[in-house]
Every structure is written in C-alpha cells, then in structure tokens.
Amino acid sequence: MALRKVLGIETEYGILIRGAADSNPIAASSVLINAYVNDLARGAAPAGATPKIGWDFEDESPGNDARGYAPEGTMAPEIETHLVNAVLTNGARYYVDHAHPELSTPECADARTVVVFDLAAEAILRRSMTAANRTLPPGQEIVVYKNNSDRKGNSYGCHENYLMDRTVPFGRIVTHVMPHFITRQLFCGAGKVGSEANGVPTEEVPFQLSQRADFFEEEVGLETTLKRPIVNTRDEPHADAQKYRRLHVIVGDANLAEVSTFLKVGTTALVLSMIEDDFLPREFVFAAPVQTLRRVSYDLSLQRPLELVDGSTVTALEVQWELLDRAKKFGEVQGFECVGGDEAGREIVRRWESVLAALETDPSSAADQVDWVAKYRLIDGYRERHGLQWDDARLAAMDIQYHDLRADKGLAGRVGLERITTDGEVELATVEPPVDTRAYFRGKCLQRWGDAIVAANWDSLVFDIGGDPLRRVPMMEPMRGTKSHVGSLIDECASAAELLERLGT
C-alpha cells in the first residue's frame, strides 16, 4: 500500500530594497528575517519564534544522489551554515538561502494543509516586511515577491517534497512522474509574459503557462541551480533512510492561486501513490521531455500534439485526463488513505476534474482557479485596452507585480482568485504547527521549552537542560510525534527535563 504522503513546500522569494542606491539581497534577506524574529521576541505574539535556536546541520547531505551514484562533473549543492536560520513554532524553517529569503513549511499530511501553511508563509513574509521597514531609513522599503524569475534569466525555486517508500525503484518514479511534471503546468503554472530561453522572441511566445519551463535543461539530475533537471535526484530523506525517500521536486512554480497550489501538491501526491502501488499501466514516454516541457508552456491553445517515443502524439490535457481517470479508479480500489483519507482524496479528484473540464472547454473560465489564466486575463485585458504590444514594459511590470506580496500592491490579490482556506486558520498556522505530523512535536517543544532547545532540524531536536551533555531527540518517523501521540505527554510535562526523562532519551 502506498505510504501516507507527508508533504511540504519550500519557497525562495524575490526581494528588492526600493529607494536604496545599492541593494544587497543577502543583507536584505537577513534584515527581513531578523526583523520578524525580533518582532516576535518582543512579545508581539504569545507563542513566539525562537531567535536563539539555530538550525542543526548534522544530518544535511543534499549531495546524495537517488540513483546511487553521482555522475562525473556534477556539483553537490553547498550548505550555507553561516546565514540566518530560524525555526518557528509552527514547525517551519525560515532562513536565507543564496540571495533570497526562504521559508519551508512544516511537514503536512494532506494537500489542503499545505495550502494553509503556504499562505501562513506569505503572512509571515508580509509581517517581516512591515517589521523590517520600520528599521530602514525613510524612503527605503524591502519588498518581497512570490515568483520564480527576474525576467532576465535568473530563476529561484519553489520546491515540493513528498515522502515515498524507499523500496520503489527510482527509475519507475522517473518514468511515470515525468509526464505529470510536463503536463501539470496546465493548472499550476504561474504564467509569464514572454520567454527567457535563448533565441525565443516575444512574437513567438508572447505569454506562457509557466515561470520555470525556460530554465530546465536536463531530464534527470542532482543540480538545482544550473542545468536544472525535470526530475531532481537529491536523496536526503530527513527520515529513516532505510524506509523512506523524499522526492524533491524542483520543476514547479510558486503559486498565488490557492486552487493551483492545492492541485499542484494534491495531484502529485496521488500520482506518486499510484507509482508506489504500480497502478499506472500506461507509460507516456515523450520523445524529447525537456523540449516538451517548454512546448506545453508555450501553447496557450492547450491543443498542441506532443510526440511520444513510439511516434504517436498526445496532448497535455489527454495525459492529465488519463492520470485523473486512473486516480479515480485508484481511490475506488485502494482508497485515499495515502493522501489524507477519502474526503481529502475525493476533493483532489473533484477539483482536478473540474479544472481540466474548464481548461478544455474555455480556459478563461478557470481564471478564478489557475494562476496563469488569471494573470493572462488581466494582462491581455490591459494590453487590449491600451493597444499595447506584448513587449511593452508595462506588461512585464504587471507580470512581476502580480507576485508582489504587499497587500495594497499585489495584483494576484485583486483578480478574484477562489479561496479554499480561511483567514482564521491561516493566522493560526503562523504560530501553531500541524497536528498530524512530527512537526507537531517540533513546534510544541519550541513553544513550551524554546529556552532549553539549542538546535533543531527536520529529524531531530537538541536540548540543553543544563549540567548533562546536550540531548538529541531523533524524529526519524515523519508520522510520529503527532498530537494524538504526544499531545498529552507534552501537556503533562512541566519542564524539558521531565519530557526527556519520560521519552527515555
């Protein structure tokens, strides 16, 4: 049976200091995150962040390759241990990565919860901007953008993570997830005016489905910053490596539309579960996957035939209809426990079907659900009204501004995107962890005994209770440490020392 898909999203945000002659993005990202952490520490929130708690790099090994070898000439990603790194009481990690602020959601056990924590991340970034801007000289302002490209060939990622069964051959994952990654842009592309690929003029691609398709050059590989692969092989489970694999997905866009985020992770979790249970009989093997990824992104008609290795063709919608069809059968036969239960699974399938039907009959009818459609409708409408060419800077500016996280400036907030979460649950998720993964244990321990925790990471917490050596509590099982497992234990313990004693560490 397919494993429960524990899920999360890591987003690197674009950042600008406006009004400053010189804008150092690393410094700006540090200012941003420190301002948030200090703001919480000043007591603005009852359950504060943990400014003193650093990230524990003990078990980080992003250079491991899921294929079991590292091809010559590949470079392992570097870990930057010297930059700001905070662990929040909602179980998230908030840090500076390269030259961007990055926030990784806590581990979630279903797609809708990921959406809630992705929005909580936006709220945290928004609060960070406000706090940071109070410290800047008059006329200067830090602004954060939830996009993936600066339109000049520089891209930064929004990665997804899915817990998988280690025994599934990696080759089978690659074969079956590739067609999903190539075609899911239909409903989770964030849209982009023009292209950043070499030699692709605006007349040819005035607008495309995805922010990221221009940047992928390989089918499978370890890299994330150059020669980006459609399927990333980073093998760093952050859990028991004998049992689990964490599929690290780098091909997606950062979404503002809640339905796009929901479908991005929901459909992918279902496809991966079907791969685990060998439930996908048909292989869609594209003749040229990298080119096909772009072809799908560049085709606003959604009708372009895509060539398979056997010489036949298929459209992106046809691939998605077939995956949906299998997912429905999967639910009937196996149930949806792996994606959070029957209700959660049926909701993924229902929205998946509804968005494919909308895209097939009249794409513009998906403008309240899908980012690229919403963005296209807005920008194309503006272009028509003012009689502009597609290469007009005003359209490029709107493209960037769609992703502006400031409440009064961001265009995504104005285009009527459907909500599937409530403000109340999002606000709560900025400080409270999910209840049904190990993030609960991490978050609650930080809330209760932040002073006694010296370091944290995905799979352990390190306590200093004075006197004794530091005590590491391993959390190698992502589905343990939930509220039902440890809720009463944490409530009953008066101190970290008592907790450690009762845990028997």
Binding site: E12, G14, L16, P77, D97, H98, A99, H100, E102, Y145, S149, D150, R151, K152, N154, S155, Y156, G157, H159, T224, T225, L226, R228, I250, S301, Q303, R304, P305, T313, V314, T315, E318, W321, E322, L324, D325, L356, A357, E360, T361, D362, P363, S364, A367, R377, L378, G381, Y382, R385, D392, A393, R394, A396, A397, I400, Q401, D408, L411, R414, G416
Partner: protein
Amino acid sequence: MAEREQKRKPAPAKQDEVVDDAPAKSETGEKIKAELDDLLDEIDEVLEVNAEEFVKSYVQKGGE
C-alpha cells in the same frame, strides 16, 4: 501545418471536438467582461508608475 494533424489518443476523452477560443457571447461572458473592465479601472491606481525603470531594476540572483 503538420502540427495540426493531431492524432487524438483514446484517452478518457470528455469531448473530442474542442471549441476554438472565441470569446463567449453568453450572459456569463458579458458579466466576465464587465468584471474585467472594473478590475482594469481599479488597478490603474496601483500599477508601478515607471514600468520601464521598475522592470529594469528588478534583478535577482539565481537561487535554489
């Protein structure tokens, strides 16, 4: 164009013939158009004033 000679797969096709993307002339179509007009009126106030300068200044380092 050769591209147009597409071979439809026996996918669980919902409908084989696909409507061209001509704007819908239904009532909903009109309503959507009106909403878009309102939206375009409204955003005029928040759009970046110097688009060219803004786009030029939006430079990021690659990440991941």
